[in-house]
């Protein structure tokens, strides 16, 4: 046995050496980050993650801030599908960026899991707190503490192609005010029987796009899609069934729903309308505002109607918070507090025809803006942001029970609504 000992000792030495090397490497990286923090305070560099669909707005905000501040925000754009995985991996390895912006429906789960730092005091100290849109703050409120502020507001609106309306003999200035009119007008466009043109369009396999476009019709009737805790789905109500039936009728009409609607995974769901091939459909306002100048057809905008004539919108977009592993909280907060000011909201959002998160800017900041932007802004007060910890799994994930509900209700068996709704509740309530 004595002869084996040296070998063991050798292995031990090797192990110690290895530990020392990695230890030194760790010290090295620590030194680096400490160095960065030492120069920070009010200046330095703050990293930030945002996702690809809102790249334009995020870039506008960061460029405007970097132009006249010592602190520089370093923006990294994540592909929409990779957000959950990247954030999860970063939490495990403690490498989250200082500022993290994410889809507002994901924020309740992140907050509950401790991704964000508690900034209740800082948020409460904001002078214009009462003016800020509440949906994005509420989504990031957990056990009485506040974690997030609104970043980019993306609302859903109803858009229609005025050129196609003219051709179909409809009044191009009058969009639908309830679901029956929506179906009638879509059918009129479908009856044109033009190659590639359809009455409406639906993103059949993108749960995220479907909640964004269909929930407002339920809310417009004064109904709810979930209970107050977000633990039970209420999508088998008459009001919800009326929405699904409207799309079912269009799906059964020739050219009623654009080709590929049933298979659309959300990657290209805004393209057919942008190319002038869709009569009328619910649409993200951040996308349509970019079309006002570039599209070679005229566009009408209104709130999304319900079956009884009201209208509503999905207050989506991204909320933003400071991550729990952020070393430069002051630098990050400097950016956030600047972004909440009236001036910043005006410069970053209102001047670019985007939706501000600040009510006073929404009211006063769009005097020179396109009238359609004002129509969209007016819908916001009826808008809603659904909040549930398991929202992503129940609604947004590929193959979610909500996606299957729509597939059945619009294209498949008409009689499984109760079961499909129960399947969503099973996920929400776990």
């Amino acid at each position: 046995m004595t002869y084996i000992r040296p070998t063991r000792r050798g292995a031990a030495v090797a192990a110690v050496a290895a530990l020392m090397v990695t230890g030194l490497a760790a010290c090295g990286s620590d030194d680096n980050s400490d160095g960065a923090n030492a120069t920070s305070g009010d200046s330095g560099e703050v990293t930030m993650w945002s996702r690809a669909p809102l790249e334009r707005q995020a870039t506008n905000a960061v460029d405007a801030y970097n132009a006249n501040h010592d602190t520089q925000i370093k923006l990294e754009i994540l592909p929409n599908d990779d957000v959950e995985g990247k954030v999860g991996a970063a939490v495990q390895t403690d490498t989250l960026p200082c500022l993290l912006a994410g889809d507002v429906v994901r924020v309740p789960y992140w907050t509950q899991q401790g991704v964000f730092a508690d900034i209740t005091d800082k948020i409460d100290s904001l002078e214009n707190l009462d003016d800020l849109a509440v949906g994005h703050i509420e989504a990031g409120t957990y056990e009485g503490s506040k974690y997030t502020l609104p970043f980019v507001q993306d609302i859903s609106v109803l858009v229609w192609n005025k050129d196609l309306y003219q051709e179909a003999g409809l009044d191009p200035e009058k969009g639908p005010t309830n679901l029956d009119e929506f179906v009638d007008q879509a059918e009129a466009v479908a009856a044109l029987n033009k190659d590639g043109v359809s009455g409406s369009y639906l993103s059949g396999q993108s749960g995220g796009a479907l909640v964004f476009t269909l929930f407002p019709s339920v809310w417009a009737d004064g109904e709810e899609v979930m209970n107050a805790d977000g633990t039970e789905a209420l999508l088998d109500s008459d009001s919800a069934a009326a929405v699904f039936d409207a799309y079912r009728e269009l799906a059964e009409t020739t050219n009623g729903l654009g080709a590929g609607s049933q298979e659309e995974t959300g990657a290209t769901w805004t393209a057919p309308f942008a190319e002038g091939n869709v009569g009328v459909m619910p649409y993200p306002f951040t996308s349509v505002s970019g079309l006002f100048d570039t599209a070679d057809f005229e566009i009408g905008v209104s709130g999304i109607p319900g079956s009884t004539g009201g209208s509503s919108t999905f207050l989506g977009g991204d909320a933003i918070g400071i991550s729990s592993s952020c070393q430069n909280v002051d630098g990050a907060w400097d950016f956030l507090s600047w972004l909440m000011t009236d001036d910043a909201q005006q410069e970053v959002f209102a001047d670019n025809n985007d939706t501000a998160a600040n009510l006073s800017v929404l009211k006063n900041g769009y005097a020179d803006a396109d009238p359609r932007t004002q129509i969209a802004n007016a819908v916001i007060e009826n808008g809603r942001t659904p909040a549930s910890v398991n929202f992503n799994e129940a609604f947004n994930a590929a193959g979610s029970p909500w996606q299957l509900l729509i597939q059945n209700a619009v294209w498949g068996d008409d009689d499984s609504l109760t079961d499909d709704n129960a399947a969503i509740t099973a996920i929400l309530g776990q």
Binding site: Y3, G88, Q113, A259, G260, E263, E393
Partner: protein
């Protein structure tokens, strides 16, 4: 290998360590001296000094590989087993041990049976299409004829492309917006112009199978070709003299002598298909409506998409690991391959 130094002293120490003692008279002498001197002290229980030296040297040579295996293979497997028995969420990190709750949750998921069934279906489809094609191609190009090098290269070329890249390539080909296939198929009257090839469950399955056959046929052709070329030509010659026709020599010489190679390619193909992920992740995302979710995709979904539960993902990984071991064991048995045949 050891260079002889003029004095004969320089290389001696090294030689003494490296070479087996018997071949070096000097070392034998020393060796015996040691034994003799020890023998005086009593009965020798432990290994001799040079054996120990040899063992130690051996371990030194093996240790880098051992370290890599321990770090990159054994440690992750142990970690997966620990994870599978632990409540371990994506954001919340490692929490307390909860065995066997993760396994209960996995078995309670209705998607599990669907994905297992789909994975099996996909595995059968790809393997039973690729294997005959690979064998046929290998026989086609095994003899050196004029154009064979070009043909071999052409067939092998898709294998040089990563599976993710080729999936992306086919995603574009299948796209109704930018792909050329839709208009061709529409003109032939096989489908509607604007419908998506990936839109129906069967369409998505066969479109993926087509991609995988294109991507892997050349690779398995190469492996099969190596096996074919290892068969001695005189066996065929003898068969020819005995009057065997081509079919008879294929059935009675090629197939039996190719058995070890075929066993290897079948196992590689089946194992690879059972672990399919990239092509479905890029092409179908498990859709339409969860009809093309493979087991590995389900692991990914548990970890990063739906449950965000690394414990559940690890539990399913363990189940898949066990299933693979069992399937491969029975495959090797049924093909009659044992250790001797290697």
């Amino acid at each position: 290998m050891v260079r002889k130094s003029p004095s004969g002293t320089e290389g001696q120490g090294l030689r003494e360590r490296l070479a087996p003692p018997r071949r070096v008279p000097n070392a034998v002498k020393e060796h015996e001296d040691v034994r003799a001197s020890r023998g005086h002290q009593g009965i020798v229980k432990g290994p001799s000094r040079s054996e120990v030296l040899g063992n130690r040297l051996g371990w030194t040579f093996v240790s880098p590989t051992l370290l890599i295996i321990a770090l990159l293979f054994i440690a992750p497997i142990v970690l997966v087993f620990v994870m599978a028995a632990t409540k371990w969420t994506l954001m919340g990190g490692q929490q307390d041990v909860n065995f066997p709750e993760n396994f209960h949750k996995v078995f309670a998921d209705p998607l599990l049976m669907d994905s297992a069934w789909f994975t099996l279906k996909y595995t059968f489809a790809t393997t039973f299409i690729i294997m005959p094609i690979a064998l046929g191609l290998a026989m086609l190009v095994q003899e050196s004829r004029r154009w064979n090098n070009i043909i071999r290269t052409a067939i092998l070329l898709p294998s040089a492309l990563g599976i993710a890249s080729s999936s992306l390539l086919f995603y574009a080909l299948y796209s109704p917006q930018v792909g050329p296939l839709n208009s061709i198929l529409a003109k032939l009257g096989l489908m509607e112009q604007n419908a998506s090839l990936l839109g129906s469950p069967n369409g998505a399955l066969w479109a993926t199978v087509f991609l995988v056959v294109w991507r892997f046929s050349g690779y398995y052709m190469l492996l099969t070709m190596v096996g074919l070329q290892a068969i001695p030509p005189d066996v065929y010659e003898a068969a020819k003299i005995d009057g065997a026709n081509r079919f008879q020599s294929f059935m009675n010489i090629t197939l039996p002598l190719l058995k070890p190679t075929l066993a290897m390619t079948w196992i590689m193909s089946i194992t690879g298909s059972l672990l399919a992920f990239d092509q479905f992740y890029v092409l179908t995302k498990g859709g339409p409506n969860n009809s093309t979710v493979t087991v590995v995709q389900l692991i990914y979904k548990y970890a990063f998409e739906t449950k965000k539960d690394l414990g559940m993902a690890a539990a399913l990984s363990v189940i898949v690991l066990v299933a693979l071991v069992v399937i491969n064991f029975f495959m090797l048995k049924s093909m009659g391959v044992n250790d001797e045949e290697d």
